[in-house]
Symmetry: C2
Subunit: 340 residues, 2 copies
């Protein structure tokens, strides 16, 4: 990307749960923003959003919205990305897309800056931001893979409702209010009541019984890690938590790694915080991790059921590192890379 | 046990979450009760509980409470069981103990009636009722082990607060009320806020980093299945759900079992209900399973990451099949077995 002192940035999906985080993270991290343009569907256009103390009006997204834009952060769902990303690229912008639209396209890099920054140089205008549950897992798997080669991962997720969006957060709140008042609950966003329940269903199911969310954990991880030989078995479930995904991750490696080596290896990796002293009630939880930037790892312990195995408990803010922060970090890397 | 037309039954811990279920299950299943005596700590003594339309007063537990009792159902914690179980046995009662006090004692059978009814005949006055999270898992593993021999299980639990007791259920409710009113929350029963959170901490931690709850899943399963060669890796977490434990279970077997064979094998086993049509949003969830007697299994799918592997999603009412119902079923088996 052409080096500038400041960039014209657009956020598509500016009124969504992730879009709002994108705007506040651009501000927090003092991203060199020259102009910021905010887009959403015509339904949400006209909303006012604050950026650097200034009130900005969200505009309806159109084909010609991207004139002069350097970086377009998309987070408005796969169909919006499919419809508008090429207009942005044609207008000269680099698109960082948080949807699933392009993630598995072999010509489009899927990037977690701590894990595979090198893939960025291969982009042709679009860079895909991985799925929330994948990002936090690969951050942890990458340094371990480099040391001991990961053979197999069995992961079960505990995913918060903000991963679905603002409407799901509102649904959890409304359901709790109704239930506490002994009133009936009618699920709208989710297929079943989410309050005081666990739903093992995230995104549509495929004919083999896996959900698309589970297959994202499998396929995106292999692509980001650049290693198809890692075997991954995933189960994804939704829990009544607002923000923060937790993952129970069982890892089998080629070489032996003691819990001490796992801990020290993870501690040295950027963006990871080892939070592991269970005797003192120290382990990562969604509640404490919401609003923070790191991927937290705890409950690190040997798994004696296999030769070289261990367990991890991985928690991150799915809206930040799992989505908006990772996208902004991609933009930061991008403006640091000299144009080839 | 000497055959009678009706039995003198005592419930110890009659005012607890499990004790209350024991009383209602004895009534529902028309257990042949001659007399019912209800015991609790002196703090809870004097409470009135209804049984078969009759109001009964809960009495304070004492050394000599068990005169004439045939069957004593204990659910008042391990220390009460350790203190009073021998008095009950000495008075001629058979104790069915829901605490962890005697579960791993090699001389005391640990029984799930569908799985290892044969172990009942070895008892010397005390029969241990397994831990809630173990019961629902072994019900599912047993028929699969019989067909294809289970080599390894990786399980992650989503456990409801009723597993801790009535005070934990009250804590979840209070925390939700406070949070919805924008008031601060002070955890008492749990080490951290449970409302809108996930806590990967159930019971104390051992020096190797496992919680006692996780080791129960490992050790109790091997004892009940009568096979020490099954390797089990467990992670246990508490979720903000009132009743019903969910378990994500990854199974590796010696012989190949297709999902179809897993489904048909499980369907034929007593006490199991296969609830597995994800495309139609059919999978077990705590919300739908609370108040029911079966162990529900869904999300049955092949795990291509190993040669002979599959995933299961197992949910049961932890107060019923996970505790009170299993105890009453043990009593039912017991009165059916002719005295040797």
């Amino acid at each position: 990307m052409k080096k500038k002192t400041a960039y014209a940035v657009a956020v598509v999906g500016a009124t969504g749960a992730v879009g709002k985080e994108m705007i506040s993270i651009l501000e927090e991290r003092r991203f060199p923003v020259d102009t910021l343009q905010l887009f959403a569907s015509s339904r949400s256009a006209g909303t006012n959003v604050s950026f650097n103390g200034q009130s900005m009006t969200v505009m309806a997204l159109e084909e010609n919205s991207f004139a002069g834009v350097d970086i377009a952060l998309f987070s408005a769902g796969a169909s919006v990305s499919r419809e508008y990303a090429s207009s942005a690229v044609n207008a000269g912008a680099v698109v960082i897309d948080n949807s699933s639209a392009f993630r598995m396209d072999p010509d489009i890099p899927l990037v977690v800056p701590e894990v595979n920054p090198g893939h960025l140089s291969r982009h042709h205008g679009i860079i895909a931001n991985p799925n929330c549950s994948t990002i936090q897992m690969v951050c942890v798997l990458k340094p371990l893979h480099d040391v001991a080669r990961i053979k197999r991962v069995v992961v079960t997720t505990f995913q918060s409702v903000s991963g679905t969006g603002s409407d799901a957060m509102a649904e959890l709140l409304e359901q709790c209010k109704h239930l506490l008042a002994f009133q009936e609950v009618k699920p709208i966003v989710y297929p079943h009541q989410i309050a005081f329940n666990v739903i093992p269903h995230i995104e549509d199911f495929l004919p083999d019984g896996y959900s698309k969310e589970e297959m994202k954990l499998v396929n995106e991880t292999k692509k980001i890690m650049g290693d198809d030989s890692i075997r991954i078995a995933a189960t994804a479930a939704r829990v009544p938590v607002y923000v923060g995904h937790a993952e129970s991750v069982n890892v089998e490696t080629d070489l032996k790694m003691t819990p001490e080596v796992v801990r020290s290896t993870l501690s040295e990796f950027p963006g990871i915080q080892v939070f592991d002293d269970p005797q003192r009630k120290v382990y990562p939880m969604p509640l404490h991790v919401a609003g923070t930037d790191n991927v937290f790892v705890g409950r690190i312990r040997e798994d004696p059921s296999i030769e070289n195995g261990f367990h991890l408990w991985v928690v991150a803010d799915n809206l930040r590192k799992g989505a908006a922060l990772n996208a902004v970090q991609i933009a930061e890397k991008l403006i640091d890379i000299p144009e080839s």
